[in-house]
Each structure stands twice: as structure tokens, then as C-alpha cells.
Symmetry: C2
Subunit: 291 residues, 2 copies
């Protein structure tokens, strides 16, 4: 997805918020804003929002000297999600359709995102998403794809934010227990916003249930050109890809056919971009899309 | 009030919205954004938000060629407010404290503001503001100032947005009928956002109840340095000044002692700036402040 003009105010806001998360002084905040205004002017039209976001958060890290401005927020989000984990497992165990429940929980976890919408009530979101109609609904296509995959083939799950990882773990477990499919879970190669890194995935216990790798890049989403060749080969060879969150959608929606995107539409720009796949995608809509 | 860093994302958003109100093409929207990002980088630290907003909206008008991008919105806001006018008059007539009711209605009308918060339900806001506690409450000081003013002295009322003018008309009538004080009502010398001009004031019927003058400037609020000398003299000589809305507060809060500010705090930046005058000023708080 290319960047929309509506993304620009959001980048400026995010830059300021990220600088403050990093403990920036007033002068550092001002310098961050100034540099970000400049880079937004120079940003080429063909870039995706995560490619610009990557540069924005790079400015924040350089100006503030904070290598991982969201470290504390990420750890807190993982702790909060882990506290809910037993209840998530119970919901799946009690469900007549464990895959559906696990998909919904994974999508519910996508609310943990300090970019577009810093405020949320985690369990209230779980309850909402459990009952909510899909705004874009590729569940049948996903079921067919899972059924067609030979047992033992690996699903590639592109993760998103720390804490959301715990919700994805429930989905990973269902893919293994119900479909006999192991998962390779992908995190970022370095800190970017509140995206999960290897450390965050370990905190969530993901290494206990699947293979966890990083993509070698420290930008948001999956900016293929910046990922390591090792990851690019895994990506190209994967028979089935599940991609979590807005940034992965923004990076990959025009890149490779057949990727399944699981996310909550947390801003009107994404919602509008998805409208050709669903009759009406509202902000807050839950999405399982295949492009 | 000096500009805060939090104002920058809002300027970028407003520029894009204003360009679209003006019917800008995609290319014009892009050029507007590009120029506004550049001017925000160059903006001096000591400027007030309206001084920057003035430049932003000047870019919009120049790039789009629209002399008055908000013309239709202003006319519609005035029509909507005029439809409520008989009910506003009834509320004052039935009130045990007509000045208090008229002040509240004038503050309620301040919701009509396409800068910070384009969405509102006008009558719901009237009902809310009638019952709401003042977050900053200088009513006693204002009553004392009105009582001390010799009959026939003119109150200077600095207007804000089109449509809001109708609500101010009710206050103008109370000042005349209850205090024997005529009002000079000030509008902008040219279009800026949805601020009222002479044309908008006439549409609201203000010329029937008071003297209406313009300040000679086409920026938001009251940027004294850009106003005509004729208006500056009126401002300097005025024994009592009521200033409506955020932009007038932002322009004048550090300029002259004793000005009374009537507004709704429509953004967290203003709310925070006002906090030294009230115990806690929330976004949405109603304010009658004297600096």
C-alpha cells in the first residue's frame, strides 16, 4: 500500500510521541520534529507507510540516543497479555470452532499498537472481537489453504507487536494441534516502535511452541528490501503466509499474491484501502484478508 | 500563548483538510502539504499558533486559488445556528440569571470550529454547556467589571467563527438590555478558516443589534501586528474586552491584562495551558478566563 497524504499528520504525531517515550528533552523533541518535517518533504511518493515510519523512528533513535524507546512499554504489554493467556487458552478449548476463536484472539491482540492508537482496554477488546462480524472475511479461503497443506509443512507467521505475540501463540498452538502444522514465527531484527524482537518473543514464550526467527531488519512491518537474504529465501519459499497488523499489510499488500492479513483496521486510511475487499470496512473493523 | 510541539501534527492535518474543503486536486493537496512542512520547519519559536495557522491557511488559499475555502461551511453553520436562535432567546428569557445563560450559550456556540474538531451536534452541545461546571470561572470578575462600566460605554467583543456569531448575538442583547452596554463586535478583515467576516456577521443579523467592525486582518484570532491601526486604536481604548475562542486566547493571553476569554477547550494543548487558572481543565471544559 502506498502512503496516503492522510498519513503525514500521523507521522508527525508519532515522531513526537516516540521521542517522548524515549525520554527526549524539549530540545531533542524539537530537533526530532524538525528532522522529521524535512524527511517527510523529501520522501518519495512510491514509498509505503512503514518505509517512511522506519525513517521517522530512526531519527527518533538517533536524536534521543535511545536504542529501544518502547522497551518498557513492550515488556509491560507482554506481561499484561501473559496474565490473560490462561483465559485465552480456555476460550479456545471451550470453542466449537477453535480456529475461528484463535484467529479472533490473534486479531484482538493486534490492538496492542502504540503507533495509531495508544489507548485500549485489552480484555474489552477480546470480548468485542469475539462477537464482531469480520469486515473482510477470508476464513473459508484460509481453511481451504490449511486443509490443502501437507502435515509438517511450516506456516510462516509474520508477527507484529510485543504482547500481541501472546495472542499469536494461541493461534500457533491451534495450527499445530488441529492441523499438524508447525509455525515459523518472524520478529524484527532490531527495535522499531513497539514491534516484537527476539527478546520480546521469548518473553511471550513463543520459542516453546514454534521456531522463532528474525527478519534481519529493524523497520516496522516487513520491508523486504531491508530484510536479510536468509529471511527473504524463507519468505519466498513459504507455502502459506499469515501476516499480522497494519504495517505488514502496508508493506506486502502489493508484493506477493496469496498472503493472508490478520489485523484490526485502526485508522481510516487502512480501512479505506481495504474497502475493495469488504462491503464496508469501518475503523475498528476486524480483517482477515487475502490479496 | 506560544506554539507547543503538539500543535505541529494538528497544523499538518488542518492544512490537508483545508485544501480538501477548497476542492484541491491530489497534486494541489500534495503541494500544500509540502509547502506547509517547509514553513513549519522555518517557523520561529516565539510565534503563536494563530500566527502559524495564518501562514498555513495562506498557503492553502494560494495553492488552491480558493479565496474563501470555508464559504459554504460558514453559510451552513450560520443557517443552522439561526434556526436555533428563537430557542436561544427563550432560554435567556426564562432564565433566573440571563447573563449566565447568555455566557453559556456564547461558549456553546464556540463548538462551531472546523479547525480542531470538525464534528459536533449543535443542540446537544447547548444542553451540555448549560449544565456544565466552568473549568475556569471568572464570572464574578466579569459581573463586577460590567457593573462598574458606565452605561453607554462600549464592550468590545472579539468574534470567532461563523455561526457562533448567532450565539454571540444573544450575549450582545443581554449586555444591552440588562446592563445598558452597547457592543462593538469584531470580525476578520478577510477569510481565514471558518472565522466570521463582515458578510458572515450580517448573515447572522449581528448588525441589527450592535456595531460590527472588522480588524483589517485575514488571519485567525487577533494577530495585533497584522490588524489595521484603526482597529488597534479601538482595541487599546476599549474599557472591557470579551474574546471568543481558542485562537483569540492563543493570540492575546500574553498581550494585554484584563481581557476576558470565553471558549471551549477543544484540544489538550489549550486545556493544559489554562490549567494554572483552573484546578483541572479537561478537553471539552468550558472557560471564562481572565489573564
Amino acid at each position: 500500500m502506498k502512503v496516503y497524504l492522510d498519513c503525514y499528520p500521523c507521522f508527525v504525531r508519532q515522531a513526537l510521541e516516540a521521542a517522548r517515550y524515549a525520554g527526549a528533552t524539549e530540545a531533542q523533541q524539537r530537533q526530532t520534529l524538525d528532522e522529521v518535517l524535512g524527511l517527510l518533504r523529501r520522501a518519495a511518493e512510491g514509498l509505503t507507510p512503514p518505509e517512511i515510519g522506519d525513517r521517522v523512528h530512526r531519527v527518533v533513535r538517533r536524536v534521543t540516543g535511545a536504542q529501544d524507546p518502547y522497551r518498557a512499554q513492550k515488556a509491560a504489554a507482554t506481561r499484561e497479555a501473559l496474565a490473560l493467556y490462561p483465559r485465552l487458552v480456555e476460550l479456545v478449548a471451550a470453542s466449537g470452532d477453535p480456529l475461528d476463536t484463535a484467529l479472533r484472539l490473534s486479531i484482538a491482540g493486534n490492538i496492542i499498537d502504540l503507533g495509531p492508537a495508544p489507548q485500549y482496554e485489552l480484555w474489552a477488546v477480546v470480548e468485542r472481537v469475539r462477537a464482531q462480524a469480520f469486515a473482510v472475511d477470508a476464513r473459508d479461503a484460509l481453511r481451504a489453504a490449511l486443509d490443502a497443506l501437507p502435515k509438517g509443512e511450516r506456516v510462516l507467521l509474520l508477527g507484529d507487536n510485543a504482547g500481541e505475540t501472546v495472542f499469536d501463540r494461541v493461534l500457533v498452538e491451534v495450527l499445530w494441534e488441529r492441523y499438524g502444522l508447525p509455525t515459523t514465527y518472524v520478529v524484527k531484527g532490531g527495535p522499531s516502535l513497539n514491534d516484537a524482537t527476539l527478546e520480546d518473543a521469548r518473553d511471550a514464550g513463543l520459542h516453546q511452541v514454534c521456531t522463532v526467527i528474525d527478519n534481519g531488519a529493524d523497520g516496522p512491518g516487513t520491508i523486504l528490501a531491508r530484510c536479510e537474504p536468509r529471511f527473504q529465501r524463507v519468505f519466498d519459499a513459504a507455502p502459506l503466509i499469515l501476516a499480522k497488523g497494519q504495517a505488514n499489510y502496508e508493506c506486502l499488500s502489493d508484493q506477493r499474491r496469496g498472503v493472508f492479513f490478520l489485523l484490526q483496521a485502526k485508522c481510516p486510511v487502512i480501512a479505506a484501502d481495504l474497502c475493495d475487499l469488504g462491503s464496508d470496512v469501518p475503523t475498528g473493523g476486524i480483517v482477515l484478508a487475502q490479496r
